[in-house]
């Protein structure tokens, strides 16, 4: 087969690809994202989006929300986690927000940017709870799930794979011996 035809076929398929769940409505209290299994309210949804945005904020490059990674997180949680993992996630979310309230007197959603960054930074180095080393706190499990999905969503996003690193669908080459100096990254 001739390569040009293949590339044309490729363009056809690309044009019809659907990516992420759509934002449907914006009623207060009702989540924006339509989920099949995971039951969350608007506050919880915002919290997760805000955590993701704090992990991956908009700087001079796009952040989690702009890239739709918050929506991707919900899609993955909803579709690619077991019921048990989802329950752990929700329990951890509550514990996470309780800890925030204890520290700042208000919910993560009402935190200033500074408070959010400070709290998330503290989550980055989880301390073993009450000496119990093998069972991490639920809030830490929740945080790690959000972080893991944020990183996964980001590193497999179109933005990252075209602008930060270059993913090639068709390399058209295999150089078995390639000098490291020549490596672009």
């Amino acid at each position: 087969m001739n390569r040009r035809i293949a590339i044309r076929n490729m363009a056809l398929v690309l044009a019809s690809a659907a990516v992420l769940p759509s934002c449907l409505n914006n009623d207060k209290g009702k989540p924006v994202v339509q989920l099949k299994h995971l039951k969350i309210n608007a506050d919880q949804e915002n919290l997760v989006s805000n955590v993701a945005e704090t992990i991956l904020p908009k700087t001079n490059t796009p952040g989690a929300k702009e890239l739709g990674i918050n929506l991707f997180i919900f899609k993955m949680l909803d579709d690619c986690n077991t019921k048990q993992q989802q329950e752990t996630f929700l329990a951890g979310l509550d514990e996470f927000d309780d800890a925030v309230k204890k520290q700042y007197g208000h919910s993560f959603n009402d935190c200033s940017q500074q408070e959010r960054t400070a709290f998330i930074s503290s989550m980055e180095k989880p301390k073993p709870e009450n000496g119990k080393k093998d069972e991490p706190a639920k809030s830490a499990v929740f945080y790690n799930m959000v972080k893991g999905l944020t990183v996964f969503g980001y590193t497999t996003s179109q933005y990252f794979m075209t602008k930060q690193v270059v993913y090639e669908l068709v390399p058209g080459r295999y150089n078995a011996w390639f000098p490291v100096k020549k490596q672009a990254v």
């Binding site: 087969m1 690309l14 704090t54 579709d79 669908l169 150089n175 078995a176 011996w177 390639f178 100096k181």
Partner: protein, 571 residues
């Protein structure tokens, strides 16, 4: 009325019928039509046309709803196929889902299947090695199964024949236990693979690490261009179906070739229920199918029938083809039909790191996957406490460090910064298992599928020989890795069920003696000379090389025989 019926029978009569349109059935179709026979190819699944029916082939990772991950609901509903490494969001549509086609596991057996035009040839990892005399002489030398009725020399010209058309890349390595073939240029070993290859050559007698041989067009010949296929673009997304026809599949190669002849009728949605045996004529006259859309039973007729439904389904079809003459399944005078099923054992692997060759990396992707270590145990003589041996994959890769520490700009920087770490190396075993009477398939007495065909009952297990072989693989590879200076060696054995290696074979074995085997040296039933079985079901023993190239060669050889018998009036 009578006339109408005759017309209808006429329209359902062909010179040849092929059951199954996958790796081996595609070859039967191509060869039969190539020799001028009007051929009907029956396929239980849907049609998959090259290019047109590869829905994911050009999707970027972010274009998959879950970026490649299979949703939990699908995973939980499909515990069996979910264990296959290639069952991802990109290729799931080419795999049989557990509930669609149930079977009975008398012992755990992960039966991985692809029911569509092309069968599993769309999904395979494309590793292709010839078997050698060490394989064909194995049962006689080591005293198991029965003697093969053929030797390497019977198959060698047919290997050449199919290799030239399919396109196999590799080096001429001059290794007796892994005969050379008609090769396109090999995909070269990288720095650390090459280093290990030299190390092994220097340190061990008769051990080799070579470029893996694979069914990719590294440099197409005119015959490949004529098939409408082009040079492999090193995408390594092959299991989605390749828009370049870069690797061999029935869909890109043999089936369109057969169709182009004008002599081939391809009938998807046709489950072959049984082969019809005519007692007066003393031969098979056709097959009975169930149309999966209409559930209608239809009979088709032909002078010669090729059974290529993939090993276990071929057993099923023959077991279900009963008559007064053959109450226990077509051609089953010996009583061995369904028995001596064997498989490959891939259940051990090893990984490590190497901190040399920091100045080298790789660029692009290697569709061959790296290196191949041909069997080196018990080759020239029996030297261990287990029978036969194993081959192994070997590959080295250099990955960027995966740093997701921190948050904010730090995290973004860490993720974007790809510093190259050490080389990683890995290997997995590919062991031969011994065919035994106690490893068998039968038909379930009560349960039937949606077309009224009995469910297949599978009773296949590992044995002590497999355990010893696995232990030896881990020991030998650990030693070879250690002496090569690899660090952080981690050898593991997993507890997978048989079947997951997707190289199930036997049940309709070849042999010289009709009392102990089903097929003669031409792959036709001893007791029903116009029925040929040329897929994995016919294998007397399993070798440790990948099997599919051998199915292709056997198929081409058998068609040649069948057609010459027809010309002589013997069929």
């Amino acid at each position: 009325m009578a006339n109408l019926n005759i017309d209808s029978v006429k329209s359902r009569t062909f010179d040849a019928i092929v059951i199954g349109s996958g790796m081996s059935g595609g070859w039967a179709a191509k060869e039969l039509t190539g020799k001028g026979l009007k051929t009907l190819v029956l396929e239980r699944g849907r049609d998959v046309k090259h290019l047109k029916d590869y829905p994911t082939t050009n999707l970027y990772p972010w274009e998959f709803p879950h970026h490649g991950v299979i949703p939990t609901e699908v995973q939980e509903a499909n515990p069996i196929v979910n264990r296959c490494y290639a069952f991802g969001e990109d290729a799931a549509h080419f795999f049989v889902k557990d509930k669609e086609h149930p079977y009975v596991q008398e012992k755990p057996f992960d039966w991985i299947r692809g029911y569509q035009v092309g069968g599993k040839s769309l999904l395979w990892a494309r590793q292709t090695q010839r078997w050698s005399d060490f394989d064909f002489e194995g049962p006689a030398r080591d005293g198991f199964a029965v003697d093969w009725p053929i030797r390497y020399s019977d198959l060698a010209p047919w290997y050449s024949y199919v290799e030239k058309f399919a396109g196999i890349s590799g080096n001429r390595d001059g290794i007796a236990e892994l005969p050379d073939g008609e090769f396109l240029p090999a995909f070269p070993l990288n720095a650390v693979e090459d280093y290990f290859s030299k190390h092994v050559k220097k340190s061990y007698q008769n051990r080799h690490v070579i470029s893996a041989r694979c069914a990719h067009l590294s440099k197409p010949n005119p015959i490949h261009l004529e098939q409408g296929r082009g040079q492999c673009q090193e995408r390594n997304l092959c299991q989605r179906g390749c828009p370049f026809g870069g690797y061999f599949s029935a869909n890109s190669s043999t089936i369109p070739w057969a169709l182009k002849s004008g002599l081939c009728t391809l009938r998807p949605f046709s489950v072959v229920e049984s082969i019809i045996y005519d007692e007066k004529l003393g031969k098979a006259t056709g097959v009975r199918i169930i149309d999966t859309n209409t559930k209608q039973a239809i009979e088709y007729f032909a002078d010669v029938i090729f059974v290529n439904a993939a090993a276990l389904n071929t057993n099923l079809v023959l077991l279900n083809s009963t008559s007064n003459r053959f109450p226990n399944g077509l051609g089953n005078d010996s009583g061995v039909l369904g028995k001596y099923v064997a498989f490959h054992n891939y259940s051990a692997h090893i990984s490590a790191e190497y901190d040399g060759f920091k100045e080298w990396t790789t660029d692009g992707r290697n569709p061959a996957g790296g290196g191949y270590i041909p069997r080196f145990r018990n080759v020239y003589k029996q030297e261990t406490n287990f029978l036969r041996g194993y081959a192994a994959g070997f590959s080295a890769y250099r990955r960027g460090t995966d740093n997701s520490d921190g948050i904010g700009q730090t995290l973004k920087d860490n993720l974007a910064k790809k510093e190259l770490g050490n080389w990683g190396v890995g290997s997995h075993m590919m062991g031969e298992t011994i065919p035994k009477e106690s490893n068998y398939v039968t038909l379930d007495k009560s349960q039937k599928d949606q077309w009224g065909v009995p469910l297949l009952k599978i009773s296949v297990d590992y044995d002590d020989n497999d355990e010893k072989m696995k232990k030896d693989y881990i020991e030998q590879m650990t030693e070879m890795f250690t002496s090569a200076g690899f660090k952080n060696i981690r050898a593991e054995s997993d507890h997978r069920a048989p079947g997951l290696d997707i190289h199930e074979m036997g049940g309709v074995r070849m042999g010289n003696d009709p009392k102990t085997s089903m097929l003669d040296k031409w792959n036709r039933l001893h007791a029903c000379k116009n029925v040929y079985v040329t897929d994995g079901a016919s294998m007397t023993s399993t070798s440790c090389q990948n099997p599919s190239l051998t199915y292709m060669a056997m198929t081409a050889r058998s068609v040649d025989h069948a057609v010459s018998e027809m010309k002589k009036g013997n069929i």
